[in-house]
């Protein structure tokens, strides 16, 4: 039996400690905003925050989340108005939208650390998150805007 916090709520888990956090969030808690894309930490669709850092929940076993605090897209802000989410809307970033939870969580971790990310810093921070629709130009613009607002 292990405990963790998910979006501020204390949870206990007694299943296979090797199960990736992703499937706990999606199948057991019904938090489907976090997406499956590759299962190998190659695409970033499953990105959540473990404590303060952005991690790939598809390869993070439950055991590694024990005693830690997990934030998913559903818990990023109470009203959906985190500066990164607002910037995403101002720049009309999404096309199909599927990867965007992961993109936003990755970007939120970046702008929490820096108020002025350069293009190369943005590219480096976001390169693990694939968008097959190709919204990258707008992601760059949205991250720049969100970082500028001192998120």
């Amino acid at each position: 039996m292990l405990t963790l916090r998910v979006n501020g709520v204390e949870r206990t888990y007694g299943g296979d400690p090797a199960m990736p956090l992703l499937w706990y969030l999606r199948d057991e808690l019904g938090l489907t905003g976090t997406k499956f894309g590759c299962g190998m930490a190659l695409c970033g669709a499953c990105t959540v925050h473990l404590d303060a850092g952005a991690i790939r929940s598809c390869v993070t076993p439950m055991a590694a989340a024990a005693g830690k605090s997990v934030t998913t897209i559903e818990g990023l802000s109470a009203d959906g108005n985190h500066p990164v989410q607002r910037a995403w809307r101002e720049h009309n970033v999404p096309q199909c939208g599927y990867c965007q939870s992961g993109q936003i969580m990755q970007a939120a971790a970046l702008v929490a650390k820096t108020s002025k990310a350069s293009d190369s810093e943005i590219d480096a921070a976001m390169a693990g998150n694939i968008c097959r629709c190709g919204t990258y130009a707008r992601i760059r613009a949205a991250v720049r805007a969100a970082a500028g607002k001192g998120a």
Partner: protein, 766 residues
């Protein structure tokens, strides 16, 4: 295309999709798209449209809420926003009071018939949602507006000429009185639908939403994790399943030992699924399914299955050997599919002959959301929730595998996490239905990324041979194009070895060049995997070869590639393809409405060249390349600026795109589609390839099937939209074809190295 609009306010069935008691119109569209689809699948087309078989609904409730039932699948192109915007504009509706409801794929309300002999109008592919539905939906909005005006006139006992709909109200001009739409519903619901000639569409100066950059309706949900895709669907008591499918197309299970799988905690059942021998069409591939209490247990269980396979007839498929076969076929005469003038004589008499051979490999869609679907089978009925581009094809395929009538299958369409053509094929949804029936519970089937790569409906693999003759002044006087590739119809019918007329109409036989002698040929090719349509389909290989060769001819003639391209296109005119005996499909649209217009083609070339600063001085290692292509009746020209480093590493500082897609509803979504198409074109060209050995796909995930990431995306992408009142053209696909050849032409300009084989990969390395 003429739509029929019917007042259905008092029809009970509507209340399932909208609340009862409102004023509701149904729009029935004729089945022209069925013809287009049948052409793509190479089958016979079309039967008459039923008299009442509506496609789209519009309802206004007493509280003023407007509900528009979106019948097209949303996969990132913005259609759930674009079509309703146009309807709401004609309705003079307040956009904040408009609600979008996704249509279900269902016989009672939408088109009937199986995909192959009568494809339904909900099938969202071929870049034609706006092309085919803009006008009918505008007419529906304008009709409802006219009926609300008539209702207000009746309420006030004034002449209808004195009233005017304005932003969710009707105004009585002489008195200045107004009445809200919601307050007119009770009258409007009993009014007759006015005849078409009395319905006025707005002048463009009166547009409220059309032509404006309206954010997509799903934007908030997509940025908060609330948007629901197929993979997110849940039903009470649901089980999770993954399937071990035959690693070779047409293979079968010979034996399975499932004891270790069944011992995994959470695994509930292991189920054998019968496959369908090739050509399997939309039917499942078969294999062994593991059904479990969660996804992880299902995956763990599958990894412990011990299965022996009979690989069947495709077990020797080998991409290296097959490539040699295709390239040899491209060197021999093939079926003549366009023939104008006398190419052989012109080639023989040419001052100079140029030949080149091009190769494009299989591609995988790799939608970010892999195939996933939920089904519930109970009491002889089936309900599915799925990210499908093709609700009716889904319904009919599910009915077929379950052996029940189609009207007992209900298809709920979720958002699609990418489509690109993959999600037109409902094989994965039929798997969920079969498993639900077998285990007696709701079952969600998930494809892992490996599954997606290994069991795709791949973009075809193509070899092309081109030959041209130049006269003494460097003008091209003869053009021979042989294109050989396994065809999409081979996935649906046995013995198909030639490409369909529809596929050849995608950038081969519709060559828009002003050359007196043109011959196009299609040699035979057998297929060994499922071939499917992939964003822009055969335009990928054809635009690559044609635009690359145009640039090669310019080089041979010592001319600027852009100037020479314009010379090849020739003067503005409508091309008559019947002269060459072409069976030209024109994307399912009439050639008089959508001619092959070289004036528009020239215009996008000239525009993109001007905006990209064609001819500007570049630093060493950089080059500009151009490509232009008409597809889905839209004209796109692309200029790529490339930078090639000393070790052959490629980056793209800038891309310019000029697009003439006719009438534009939401310019922001045109731009976003072009931006995304450039990224997909880059992925296709730089890295994209699926190869086979022993019949097995050798790629399995984004490590060995890379796609463009943000650090490889162009630093700058500029989209230039040609203002136009022409009928709307496609937007989702046409941005893809010109990117690849523009990139390769730019690489030639930068390095002198000509890329004739895709992907580019490491070809520029030392």
């Amino acid at each position: 295309m003429r739509a029929t609009i019917t007042n259905v306010s008092r029809r009970e069935f509507l209340h399932e999709v909208t609340a009862g008691g409102g004023f509701a119109l149904a729009v029935t569209l004729p089945g022209a798209t069925r013809v287009a689809e049948a052409l793509m699948t190479g089958t016979a087309a079309a039967s008459p449209t039923d008299p009442f078989n509506p496609n789209v609904y519009l309802q206004i409730d007493a509280d003023g809420t407007v509900t528009i039932v979106a019948h097209r699948s949303e996969m990132g192109q913005g259609v759930r926003t674009g079509l309703p915007m146009a309807l709401a504009d004609e309705l003079e509706a307040d956009w904040s009071k408009v609600r979008i409801e996704q249509a279900i794929g269902d016989e009672a309300r939408f088109k009937t018939g199986t995909y192959v002999d009568e494809p339904g109008t909900q099938n969202t592919d071929g870049s034609r949602s706006l092309r085919h539905f803009l006008r009918p939906l505008r007419e529906a909005g304008a009709t409802a507006r006219a009926m609300l005006e008539a209702a207000a006139a009746q309420r006030w006992s004034v002449s209808v000429t004195e009233v005017e709909a304005r932003f969710h109200q009707v105004l009585h001009r002489p008195s200045g009185r107004t009445v809200a739409y919601g307050d007119l519903v009770a009258i409007a619901r009993d009014l007759p639908v006015p005849p078409k000639e009395q319905v006025r569409l707005k002048q463009s100066s009166a547009f409220r939403y059309i032509g404006k950059e309206i954010p997509i309706v799903d934007l908030f949900d997509m940025t908060t994790g609330r948007a629901k895709y197929g993979i997110d669907q849940v039903q009470p008591g649901m089980k999770y399943a993954v399937v071990a499918r035959p690693p070779v197309y047409g293979g079968r299970v010979t034996s399975v030992d499932s004891s270790a799988a069944e011992a995994v905690a959470g695994v509930e059942r292991v189920v054998r699924l019968e496959g369908t021998p090739p050509p399997s069409g939309f039917l499942p591939l078969g294999g062994v399914a593991v059904v479990a209490r969660n996804t992880w247990a299902a995956m763990q269980g599958r990894s412990k299955l011990k299965i022996t396979w009979d690989d069947g007839p495709n077990g020797a498929y080998d991409s290296t050997a097959y490539r040699a076969q295709l390239e040899a076929a491209a060197m021999r005469p093939g079926k003549v599919v366009r023939n104008e003038g006398d190419v052989d004589t012109a080639l023989a008499g040419a001052a100079r002959r140029v030949t080149a051979d091009y190769y494009v490999p299989h591609l995988a869609h790799a939608t970010m959301e892999p195939p996933a679907a939920l089904a519930v089978v109970a009491d002889g009925r089936c309900e599915v929730w799925a990210p499908t581009q093709n609700p009716q094809g889904t319904r009919d395929t599910v009915a077929k595998v379950l052996g029940i009538p189609s009207d007992r299958v209900r298809v709920n369409v979720s958002l699609l996490g990418g489509g690109f053509g993959r999600k037109s094929k409902p094989d994965f949804i039929a798997e969920a239905a079969l498993l639900s029936r077998e285990v007696g519970a709701p079952v969600k089937v998930l494809w892992t990324r490996d599954d997606d790569m290994h069991h795709g409906y791949y973009h075809t693999v193509a070899a092309q041979h081109l030959e041209a003759g130049l006269d003494a002044r460097g003008r091209t006087v003869a053009w021979l194009h042989r294109s050989v590739f396994p065809s999409i119809p081979s996935t649906f019918a046995p013995g198909v070895t030639h490409a369909s007329d529809g596929e050849l109409s995608l950038g081969c036989v519709d060559l828009p060049y002003d050359i007196p002698n043109i011959r196009c040929e299609n040699p035979e090719a057998e297929s060994h995997v499922r071939i499917g349509w992939y964003r822009s389909v055969a335009n990928i290989q054809h635009a690559f070869a044609v635009n690359s060769f145009a640039s090669e001819l310019a080089h041979a003639a010592g001319r600027d590639p852009k100037d020479y391209l314009l010379e090849l296109i020739g003067p503005p005119r409508h091309i008559d393809l019947t002269r060459g005996g072409v069976k030209y499909m024109n994307y399912g649209d009439p050639i008089d409405l959508y001619p092959v217009d070289t004036g528009r083609l020239r215009k996008v070339v000239e525009l993109v060249a001007e905006r990209a600063g064609w001819g500007r001085k570049l630093v060493a290692g950089r080059g500009l390349g151009i490509g232009v292509h008409r597809s889905f009746v839209t004209y796109v020209a692309t200029v790529v600026e490339v930078q090639v480093g000393k070790a052959g590493e490629i980056s793209v500082p800038r891309v310019d795109v000029a697009v003439d897609c006719g009438f534009v509803v939401n310019p922001d979504r045109v731009r976003s589609q072009m931006e995304g198409a450039c990224i997909m074109g880059l992925s296709n060209s730089l890295y994209g390839q699926v190869t086979f050995r022993d019949g097995r796909a050798q790629q399995s995930n984004f490590n060995d099937y890379p796609v463009v990431r943000i650090n490889a995306a162009p630093r700058e992408t500029r989209i230039h939209i040609v203002p136009s009142a022409d009928p709307p053209g496609g937007v989702g696909e046409p941005g893809v074809p010109p990117l690849g050849p523009a990139l390769c032409n730019a690489i030639f300009a930068a390095t002198g190295k000509r890329i004739r084989n895709l992907p580019i990969g490491g070809q520029l390395g030392a």
